[in-house]
Amino acid sequence: MAKIIPKIFRINTGSCNGCDVEFVATAFVDKFHITSLNVELVDDVKDANLLVITGPLTARSESFLKNALTKLRKPFVVVGVGTCSVSCGIFRDSYAINGPIDKFVAVDVNVAGCPPRPESIAEGIAKGIKVLEQKLNGEVIPKKIDTIFSDFSAPASFRGRMDLNADMCTGCRTCETVCPSTAIKISEDANGFIHKIWHNSCCYCGNCAYFCPTGAIFSTNSFDTVKLQNEKYSDVNVSHIFYDECTCCGEKYMPPSRGLLSKSYIKEDRNKLNAAICSKCRKEENFKRMYG
């Protein structure tokens, strides 16, 4: 099996520079182990076989990116670093943005994050090298590559992949409203709400968790955001928030969240106060109790 020397060239297509700064940290701070990958940072794109691309691809960068791509010799791999490179993230739908980059170049590995931790960038490069080796040896690229750097950990407070506790959620849409990068979509079907968090659009800011009135949405400290291109649209957190059936009239309704109730009723027995009835029936019952 042929061994290759990964030769890295970074192209910034309009990033806020977070990913680029963290790329430098990844490359020059020993604890991120990039030296263990025996990579070389090259001065000219024509010598590269591993492209690291950051940014949402601005209008002005487009032609220069296309031009740079013509200089590469096959096989090469493309590692998109940062949420912007994957989905344009927070800058999507601006007049000045022509990305994401996979409109113009076949991306192999995506590293979501805003910016990703150097550990994730190192992981992205490591996975990129695997793909490069497979391309060189004419092997079939697998659908998934297991984590390479298993020794990295993040502090508990790290704002990583978001998760939802569906029991606490009422589908109030606050998270959808405050999310700056349209990473959350809530839809409705006959049984209730479907809450989706698309990690590749997430800018990991924690705004949703901060503004969530019930504490349903929260960030985990998982930085497992390095995925192959075929996982781009499926790396999604999907939760179902089901309607209850009113014990009184049989209508479907959204029950109040347990999280909200425990905030509102500190002492009383919540179950008694909130018998499983819809708000219409509750109004009627209250009316009868007071005037009936």
């Binding site: 601005t58 209008a59 002005r60 989905s87 344009c88 999507r92 739908d93 601006s94 007049y95 000045a96 943005i97 994401p100 349209t182 979509k185 989706k196 698309w198 659009s201 781009k232 649209y233 499926s234 790396d235 999604v236 999907v238």
Partner: protein, 167 residues
């Protein structure tokens, strides 16, 4: 520098009248607004700023709601005090002050490309940030002439894929 002193310095030179307002930020730092009746008076204010060894920090422009009028606000600094000079133009031109205050250079160029308001007499004609693939005056549109107007946004396209693949 006392704001009143600056006001006195420009009073006799501004030919078409203006409004002078003093303001304070949340921390009691004083600032002033000079609202010109005629945009041509911008040069005399700029000269006064220069005489006080001030600089142009930046300038803001916006299109007035529902009319073909642009408001331009220059933000000057004299020794730590902000002086805002506001003017209006209905013919998409202003008189550049870059020859008086070189610090206004980029601010005026940006007003040209983002709002299509020409700073007459500006030494530089090139675009600054806006790519030539995008029409000048892009910020004039209340709803920008982006892909969004063509019906489908990138967000819609990408989320369609998400909805197909993640259930």
């Amino acid at each position: 520098m006392k704001l009143e002193e600056f006001n006195n310095a420009v009073k006799s030179k501004i030919s078409c009248g203006y409004e002078f307002k003093e303001d304070k930020d949340s921390y009691s730092n004083p600032s002033a607004w000079i609202i010109l009746k005629d945009k041509r008076d911008s040069e005399v204010v700029a000269k006064a700023i220069k005489a006080y060894k001030g600089r142009c920090v930046v300038a803001t422009a916006y299109k007035n709601d529902g009319e073909d009028v642009h408001t331009v606000i220059y933000h000057f600094d004299i020794a730590g005090t902000i002086i805002n000079m506001q003017l209006q133009t209905d013919d998409a031109t202003i008189h550049a002050i870059t020859h008086i205050l070189p610090s206004a250079n980029w601010a005026e160029r940006e007003i040209r490309e983002m709002y299509g308001v020409e700073p007459i007499g500006h030494p530089n004609k090139d675009r600054l940030f806006l790519d030539y693939s995008i029409a000048k005056g892009v910020l004039n549109e209340y709803i920008s002439l982006s892909k969004m107007q063509l019906g489908v946004s990138d967000t819609d396209v990408l989320w369609n894929n998400v909805n197909k693949e993640a259930n």
